[in-house]
């Protein structure tokens, strides 16, 4: 379907290659990131509609340029980069006329993951979360100009994976912890000592509120997320 990267056969290995289906209101795009840049294809892989080369800038001195973290929010596609910048692309309903609409510059370390959820209808409700290697989380409201709603500082450990569900942020960290935050305030409500090694990935089933965490300790855990009936705060219970 998509041509494999055949340019560097003698390289020390394939650099970070991420692929993500971006489900937008009127189309689905396949987005790939690699050391060469960001490529976007029609959902059947037939045509590449957009290519964005990464600007290495001063990076090449100490760090190789790469892109990491892909998510769709409304009619925008967000892609994170090694510098901490988040590139926001405005996607038209059809055709290749994709433009880089904004570069969010809140993070100072490489972006690790981006999570989004459909806007809940009201204004100023968070629908995008970006995470980086320092553990910093930034909470945004997407739009022609993304609005930063709140920031959640790191604690010396990378945040490798992040999910957003019904106003709750689930973040997985390099020390094996999963934390649940209230997106609107940035307050931590649940802290789970979930794994003995770095968390590789989180995934969430939005219909049933189940969170999955996978880590380098070879374990996978499933957690049931719910709102406490008394005060409405988020809670987590282990299922597996």
């Amino acid at each position: 379907m998509v041509a494999a990267d055949s340019e560097r056969p003698n390289a020390s290995g394939v650099s970070e290659l991420l692929i993500h289906w971006c489900v937008l209101p009127f189309r689905v795009l396949l987005v790939l990131t690699s050391h060469r840049g960001i490529q976007m294809y029609e959902s059947d892989g037939s045509v590449m509609v957009y290519w964005h080369a990464l600007d290495a800038g001063d990076a090449s001195l100490v760090q190789a340029a790469f892109a990491r973290g892909i998510a769709a929010s409304g009619h925008y596609v967000c892609v994170g980069t090694w510098s901490g910048q988040v590139l926001v692309f405005d996607i038209p309903t059809k055709g290749p006329n994709i433009v880089l609409s904004e570069e969010l510059a809140r993070h100072q370390t490489p972006i690790s993951d981006i999570a989004t959820e459909p806007a809940q209808g009201q204004d100023c409700v968070a629908d995008t979360v970006t995470a980086d290697d320092s553990g910093l989380l930034c909470v945004w409201r997407s739009g022609p100009k993304f609005k930063l709603l709140t920031q959640i500082p790191g604690f010396g450990v990378p945040c490798s994976s992040v999910q957003l569900w019904q106003g709750t942020i689930a973040a997985g960290y390099g020390n094996g912890q999963v934390r649940l935050y209230e997106a609107s305030t940035g307050t931590v409500h649940v802290q789970i000592d979930a794994h003995a090694r770095a968390i590789c990935a989180l995934d969430l089933a939005p219909e049933v509120g189940k969170l999955l965490s996978a880590a380098e300790d070879t374990f996978v855990h499933i957690w049931k997320l719910s709102r406490s009936p008394e005060d409405g705060y988020i809670e987590a219970a282990p299922l597996l």
Binding site: G174, V190, Q191, D217, F219, D231
Partner: protein, 389 residues
Amino acid sequence: MSMRTLPLLFLNLGGEMLYILDQRLRAQNIPGDKARKDEWTEVDRKRVMNDIISTMFNQKFMDELFKPQELYSKKALRTVYDRLAHASIMRLNQASMDKLYDLMTMAFKYQVLLCPRPKDVLLVTLNHLDAIKGLIQDSPTILHQVDKTFRQLTDIYGGLSAGEFQLIRQTLLIFFQDLHIRVSIFLKDKVQNSSGRFVLPVSGPVPWGTEVPGLIRTFNNKGKEVKRTEFKHGGSYVAAPKEGSLELYGDRVLKLGTNMYSVNRPVETHMSAASKNLASQTQESIVPNPLAKEELNLLARLIGGMEIQKPSGPEPGFRLNLFTTDEEEEQAALTRPEELSYKVINIQATQDQQTNQELVRIMGEFEITDQSRQSSSKGDDWLAMMDEL
């Protein structure tokens, strides 16, 4: 990917190489007075270790190594170790060199995989350096070189963040991806299973900075803890005792990277079963690559920093065999699967005049302390050696 990975890769692989060579040389040791002309003695062993270690820690070489850069390709790195292993009077056949390299890479892959936290790869490196210092106790000049490298290492890596170490870890693991050579010492200790995959333990101390899994804490709006729940994790972990030391002398706590070879444990690799695993591996393309020339120039600069001695007389009989018998070595060479052969790069330093001059200039700045094996001109010597590669 991280551009700070090469020094860690080089030093740890080098350390493993020294463990193996030291073990083999000791195993083939003959008491000095009883040795025939072509047999190893204690003096020879120490001589070989000193030569290799002083070449490895040559200051110019280290300065080049520590510059931020991408990892070399597997072929290029193998060439560097080929040169290093031949930095003394010792000679290795292709089969023995292949086996040596297999053991080195699988051992370091194991150590990286099992590091509790990404930063622990630094402790693994320090374990190797500590052991290397143990091998050259009688040579204060070389000890000084190693200490200098130690300081370079802690200066650069001591301050890196957890995120940067995670990137380094990923870069290393990508380098070792799809390498599943079975090593008998690992199979015996049950840390590797018969498919060549390593066994990841689910017990023992958690990494420094990680809590033992099993606790869920719930907080209210004001940050006050309102509930605690415990759950069964599945592994059987205990708290980390203490953090490993990054000082020149200190308790590293971590055992990974210490010498796992002893005189009585022959170490073998299993080739025949490994080849089945490689059926699905990607073939390395032989199409010339514009980036390869750049890489070879880098390699030539790196090797240019290596001081290599060459005996001026006829080739001495100081051959080291990594197998138990010569017949085994021949057999291994014949039956080695094609996919596993390391195509060593030939560097023709004579072609590029400018590179040639630079390398000769660097060579000219070296002092070779052992006069007995000097030949007429260091420049000619070095070039002749390169042509033979």
